[in-house]
Amino acid sequence: MSNYIGKSIKRREDNRFITGKGKYTDDLVLTGMTHLAFVRSPYAHAKIKNINTKAALAHPGVVAIYTGDDCGNFGVPCGWQVNFKNGDTMKEPPHPLLAVGKARHVGENVAAVIAETLQAARDAVELVEVDYDELPTVTDAKAAIQPGAPQVHDDVPNNIVFDFQIGNPKDEVNAAIESASHVTKLNFKNQRLSPNAIEPRSYIADYDVNADKYTLYTSTQNPHLIRLLMCAFVLGLPEHKVRVISHDVGGGFGSKIYHYTEEALVTWVSKQIGRPVKWTSDRSEAFLTDAHGRDHVTTAEMGFDDNGKIVAFRVHSEANLGAYLSTFSTACPTYLHGTLAQGCYTTPLINVDITAVFTNTTPVDAYRGAGRPEMTYILEHLMDTAALEMKRDPVELRRINFIPAFDGVNQPGYQTQVALQYDSGNYHATLDRALEMLDYKQFRKDQEESRTNGKLLGIGFSTYIEACGIAPSAVVGSLGARAGLYESGHVRVQPTGKVSVFTGSHSHGQGHETSYAQFVADTLGIPIDDVDIIHGDTNEVAFGMGTYGSRSLAVGGSAIMKSLDKIIEKGAKIAAHKLEAAEADLEFAEGKWTVKGTDKSITFGDVSLTAYVPHDYPAGLEPGLDFSSFYDPTNFTYPFGTHIAVVEVDKDTGKVSLKRFIACDDVGNVINPMIVDGQIHGGVAQGVGQALLEGVVYDENGQMITGSYMDYAMPRADDLPFFETDRKVTPCPHNPLGVKGAGEAGTIGATPAVANAVMDAISHLGIKDIQMPITPERVWRAMNS
């Protein structure tokens, strides 16, 4: 019986968050702590001729100043190797902790000033004199590969990091497109986004000279990964002498996965000065230095036969990776992107071709969805556009092309043309439910009527699929990942039957302390208050890979389930001994072992106590009830759903108002519906943000002109309607909880739905496409061109 699973239990962590009692990195003050502030490049591309630190060093309170001359031989690595089509290794120039020789984007670290107070550090930053020689800049991926474009790295010809393709042979796909009875073609830019976690990045390093040990407090999504990368690939530190702690983290959206230069630098500095040192990003620095998302320039074509069946799909994109390779930057436009090109359609021929490019911009990496929103936008935007062009109903066009339902148990998984094998899916089911919620027929009537009243109503669909629960280590290893992607789960039953659970996954807003406790309590049949979830400290938790790619419950939860199985198995041996019964005669339910068919039983608490006070105990059995497990998934999980947006366009101003947003998602089994709803709501808000509001813009000199909340428009409550959400459940067939993942679904599904709705509203005016973010001016221009 489930006491907790499937219930919307209020989040146990929220009390401390909403009362301001969260323990974030910047809240920590260590004895003798110094403060670090950066001198950052004001230029997008410039030679650094000389750095004069004399006046700054003389400023009261300054402890030390470092430049690339001091630590430029240390650099952060890329975590995923992607090779050129011809087999050559990707270009991976050094990414130094402080710029060496030249700066390659505005905001790059040029010097680090350490002082007794933050005020003194900031004052001294202004006294550091840097002599720059400005160089020509390039910020657009397509421009960067043109002959004669400025070279970001001298040894990377044409700024090309690698080229890549996935899918069926190109000539077969091209031939099918050429002979298709209808081809829909779109050229657009999937614009660059800033992640905007509410807590800016913050790091404190504390080197203990006596023990020769380091502690790094960091706002990361994956403490062990940071420790591994920093120790093994950056600073050459002994991993067992480095502790990485990441307590409460205020949002990540991917941007806190990566091992940043600032993180390794504070660790290095702490040993140099023999004191703790703190750096906390301010919002301006966050805009300039947190890894951005998206930024693809895309040409995509989809060919259809006379019946509306897709015959082939091809994509070519230039992916802008910024000035350096961030940790997972290379995976995002490739294995996390091209592999989604099947969507939920039976497309027989697919080719995705990507050129990854350096530019004089902030590095780009995974941002909520990571490559999958970009591909979903291409697919779903093409579907609605094709429907408009072919004068077919966008819903019917999808139905014609959907992969039929398969549960992965009675029917096999679906083998795509782009490497992945989907686990289970029922795409008609979420579409049916979403249409029911919408009342599609009524909407089309309203739309007809609205046009005669001078209002422009539009509807947009998105029937997305995504791949998450990343990932089988051997699979990703064969694709170039430089890490495994399993997870650890350690369950320590205390003598009194209370349970401490240590997870290698990491909560930075997801609510693990609640949803994990729900399934642990149910599995052991104990009260939820007897379960504590611990994460974010490499000294407490077994080596884990952290949280991103909607993997926590599917991978981290499964690791915990493995340990719970071991606990119950061992507990049964103890119970059998105490009950003087055979193990096979026992059943475990409701927190006790009972001899079947009798009222003889022993509780989980009594078994726990016996395990730690083993006076009357099974011969040969070790004391204790404490198991650690690692879970390496056999496949990704594949959530899916239908998102529908209804918009109204102001004919006079071009302003788009989102009137309704309907989401019916299938994320497999659900532990806490409220938390899943919250994930969908937040994800949809971010997806709407990309469609209508957000976008990082650089000027011709590589200056970011959207570097504050005065210019960078985030979605706010009053930009959004009340979301109408529902769910269907197709369990994941290959993990013990049957869960898929909900963290990114909203973002992946929402963006094309909104863009499609705008097009539906205005396409009758002869408008073919519109660039995101769909600002009022863009709509107005389209309507008046």
Partner: protein, 269 residues
């Protein structure tokens, strides 16, 4: 986001504030609500050596009727103006404008005097100040003077206010038939275009903000208006150098100015 070092002095009277301004010269700046000055200081775009706090000077935060005018103290907050029964009754367009500024936190701290002195080209108040023929009453070490809106706003962050003067009050003729409509920037929520329209007897007056480097009176619209809002609004940017930025080009902004002028005119009672 740490300001450079500065000295903070709290003034307890207008004369003390003016004496301090005189003493510290151009190195000093006045602070009331701090909603324009503090962000600029935190970004170190503005680094005054001395900050003189006039926010608590008695008598500067009252709203009074004086014959045909309302006299609004410079230290009145946006929230105070938005919720004042007198303002709502006698000059509702100003209450409406104040309510459209920022969010509740901003409205609770920001002041009308501070906003006018800062003269952001996209600020909301200037449109109403111009449309209503308000006067800005200022005081300096050498005495008081009264400046019309048209003379006061001169450019981006530039006003007729002398460096040793401060705003004491705003004197605004009452008007029962007025409206302020704006097209907000989705990020800053400042006015991309803000239009104040006031009807007095047979005449109308139009103030536009966000369009040019400073708010202006759309005299060409006023002259052209004969009851046809659409035709008159075509003159909204006549002779005006219209601003352009990442969100709205000058062409689009000009169009918005016309749309909002028409909408404001049409909304007049």
């Amino acid at each position: 986001m740490i300001p450079a070092k500065f000295e903070y002095i709290k003034a307890s009277s207008v004369s003390e504030a003016l004496a301090l301004l005189d003493k510290h010269g151009d190195d000093a700046q006045l602070i009331a609500g701090g909603h324009s000055l503090v962000p600029a200081m935190k970004l170190r775009l503005n680094q005054p050596g001395t900050v003189i706090d006039i926010g608590k000077i008695p008598g500067l935060n009252s709203i009074k009727e004086d014959g045909d005018d309302l006299v609004i103290g410079a230290n009145c907050t946006h929230h105070q103006i938005a919720t004042s029964p007198i303002v709502k009754q006698k000059l509702n367009v100003l209450a409406q404008t104040a309510k459209s500024i920022g969010d509740i936190q901003v409205r609770n701290k920001g002041t009308i005097g501070g906003s006018l002195a800062h003269a952001d080209p996209a600020a909301d108040y200037p449109a109403v100040i111009l449309a209503s023929d308000a006067k800005i009453e200022v005081e300096g070490i050498n005495g008081k003077r009264s400046i019309s809106g048209s003379d006061f706003f001169q450019g981006i962050y530039a006003t007729a206010l002398g460096s040793h003067e401060m705003i004491i009050a705003i004197r605004i003729p009452k008007a029962s038939n007025g409206v302020y409509l704006k097209f907000s920037h989705p990020a800053s929520r400042f006015a991309v275009v803000g239009c104040a329209a006031i009807k007095n007897g047979a005449g109308i007056s139009i103030g536009l903000t966000g369009v040019a480097d400073h708010a202006y009176r759309a005299s060409a619209v006023e002259r052209a208006y004969d009851g046809d809002a659409k035709a008159a609004s075509e003159h909204a940017v006549d002779g005006v150098a219209v601003m352009s930025d990442n969100f709205a080009s000058s062409e689009y902004r000009s169009h918005l100015a016309k749309v909002f002028t028409e909408r404001a005119l049409s909304a007049l009672g």
